[in-house]
Amino acid sequence: MQFTRRNGLKAAGIAGALAAGTRLPYGALAAQSPIGDPEPEGEPVEGGEWVFGISELPDTLDPHKTGAAVSDTILNYAGDALIAQNFDGEYVGGVAREWEVSEDGLTWTFNLRDDITFHDGTPLTAASVKANFDRILDPATNSITAAGLLGPMESTDAPDDYTFSFTLSEPFTPLLDNLTSGVLSIASPDAIESMGDDFGRTPVLSGPWMIDEWRTGDRIILKRNPDYRWAPEYLHQDGPAYIETLVFQSIIEEAARVAAFEVGEIHQTSIPSTDIERLTSDDNSWIVSYDREGVVFLEFNVTAAPFDDVAVRQALNYAVNKQDVLDAAIEGYGQVAYGFLSPSIFGYWDGVEEYAPSFDPDRAKEILAEAGWTASDDGTLEKDGNRLEFTALNLPTDAWNRGAQVVQSQLEDIGVKMEIQQMEFATVLEEAQAGNHQAEFMGYTYSDPDIAFLWFHSSNAGEGLNLSHINDPHLDELIIAGRSAVDLEERAGIYAEIQQYIIDLALWVPLWIDEYYVGFNKSLHNATFNADNRAELFDAWID
């Protein structure tokens, strides 16, 4: 077994882009991250089957309709998006050879390749791209993920066969990265039309593998596209992919999935923290780790007592020893979180570690004493007859539960009583959206700092994900400025300010950032972990 440590590859890539200014495509700095042998020997071998172990099959593979993260991964292998991202994190041509963004950031024009055909043999033209984007924007499609990725897109145009353009109502910087997403792969409009509901089961795209069969509840099978000659420039150009078959095998139960990986029934899967040490002695696998793009945190409902008082929220930020929580929850396989962004997300502000409260129970007690809380007979703090007690909702995950219990005991040390109430995800969300809660343990995964819009903008309180129910005009203003800033340096500056401000408001106690582990069977050669934490298999082969 071998570790390949990838720290913030994506962040480094975008930081590099920052240095190069706002010219598109961005230049970048980060290095690629090979899986296993850095320089594989021998000639590529054609054929073979590579089996991914995943927990759940997606809702649908219709790229425009799916809401499942796993769809994006599968569609990345089966489809081509307008833009690709090379191993250095730079944005390069995909379906589009090159592109241009107008000065005001509102009009994007793409010059498309003229040699691409869909899996059904029809050519991919600007009209196909337009049909795809129009379908996503059509409210009748009920697009979940894809429509969100397009942001404020207003209209599309295909002035000639290989020129496509669209117009935004306001600048939307995350769009460039979004356009590399698997769910924005271009699908055959003919197939969408003729296949009806079946399109979601075996969509027709243009990528290196074709979706061959979906066995309900069991697996999805992709076959190599023998005609594929239009790979992005950083991949081999002289022929199709080497691996014949990709299989996405669903195994819900984590222990069964790891067992199937150990005996070689599946070849690639995520490894839970409890198994990492044991699998170290396994000679048949490579293990690659990467940081979660997101944070796990304890969030306060600022409209409910006692958290309507910012002093209480701040005090709790001093009372939690995050390293202890991290060790208990995920056996230390991760890092402590300081702000609402993880270092792997663009805009992460280095100063946050200094700026954020560090573990200091005395300071916590001091803040609470200044706010008028005094110890009662049993040690729990109280003020005007109200005891400093609250209930935190939690999801039924072992790791989170262990973490929550450590937080609970640490708060008890400063005289704050926290009850943990476990509920299923959907119930926690509903309670928290309605504001029927005091606090909850939560987590998110997102690749852009625009996550601030979802979690903190006042328009998302009630029905969206603003579960702290914060309604702060200054914060709203900053968030809107962040999502529309075209200049990356300016954008990073805005998010640095937002990170500081969120700490001042103490909406969360950020707890930890998971380090994810992926196991690969050693039969794989020349694969590379790309900027999206996905194994690029186009150049890879199996022996």
Binding site: E56, T60, T216, I252, A256, E265, A426, Q433, I451
Partner: protein
């Protein structure tokens, strides 16, 4: 007999109607919003509101139920919120897998459970009886998700005798064992106690006095008379096994209704949940009708009119 069957089948209609109301209310009244679960990290308030309106969740519950039932009587169980596929088709695709597993488990549990029960009854208070009852206690107490994982580690990883994933016959062995074990344990205990009861009855003494072989006494006279309550339990166990398949299918990655149910509940996919409850309830009712009819076969003195 025919009139009885027709009457019983007609009675199924109000039962299923009641089930549909319960399933509908339960899935809608439990907290949790399918739209928000579906949107996940990308849920802006605006998107959620739009989707909710389009899916008709803003209508009064009565209107939603009426709309649902209009479809159901026409054989349309609605369209899944999550996948956009017709629920009836989704259930039809997954049903065979669950049915095969459940039937295998019923057969395995019946054969093993009844045999062990008979063996235990014959050697009452002996060491055979003791060990069988100990096994039965274990079978009832051990949770299937745990025994399932242990079996995977033993037969799949250590010995590598059986595949961990797959849909072939070999992949059916482990889930059948795990699913059948608790039912077999219940049946073994049940068979033992009814056998012991019958063994003490006069006609058994007469049969032995006639000089019949012990084997004939046990199998023809005692077991047959002891079987009625056991068959009832097998029918009831069938429902339990369908429910048990929810866990077992997850552990063993079988593409059946069980896993479908879990996903449906987690994502609050109302049409899916309601469809599953209806189909499983119908199945349960019909299996128990079949069991009732089976009594007449086992005991010719039973007549239906």
């Amino acid at each position: 007999m025919t009139a009885y069957i027709v009457k019983r089948i007609l009675l199924v209609i109000p039962v299923l109607f009641g089930v549909s109301i319960l399933a509908f209310l339960m899935s809608h009244l439990v907290p949790g919003d399918p739209v928000v679960v579906m949107l996940g990290d990308r849920a802006t308030a605006e998107d959620a509101a739009r989707l909710r309106e389009e899916l008709g969740f803003n209508d009064p519950l009565v209107v939603q139920y009426g709309r649902y039932m209009t479809g159901v009587v026409q054989g349309d169980l609605g369209t899944s919120i999550r996948s956009g596929q017709p629920v009836l088709e989704e259930i039809r695709d997954r049903f065979p897998s669950t049915l095969i597993l459940t039937l295998c488990a019923v057969v395995a549990a019946s054969v093993v459970g009844v045999s062990l029960g008979v063996a235990a009854a014959i050697s009452k208070r002996g060491w055979v009886d003791g060990s069988i009852m100990a096994f039965a206690l274990l079978g009832i107490s051990v949770p299937t998700f745990w025994s399932g994982i242990l079996l995977i580690l033993l037969l799949g990883v250590k010995l590598e005798w059986l595949p961990i994933v797959g849909t072939g016959p070999a992949a059916l062995v482990m889930p059948t064992i795990v699913l059948a074990a608790p039912a077999a344990a219940v049946l073994a205990r049940m068979t033992r106690s009814t056998m012991l009861e019958v063994l003490g009855v006069d006609f058994v003494r007469s049969a032995r006095a006639k000089g019949l072989k012990e084997q004939v006494v046990i199998l023809r006279h005692v077991l047959r008379n002891a079987l009625i309550p056991v068959v009832t339990i097998i029918g009831l166990q069938f429902g339990g096994l369908l429910a048990g398949s929810v866990i077992v299918e997850s552990v063993f990655t079988r593409p059946g209704l069980g896993r479908y149910t879990i996903t449906a509940i987690q994502s609050r996919d109302f049409p899916q949940i309601q469809g599953i409850v209806l189909v499983v309830a119908a199945l349960y009712v019909f299996v128990n009708l079949a069991i009732d009819l089976l009594y007449a076969v086992i005991d010719p003195r039973i007549r239906y009119n």
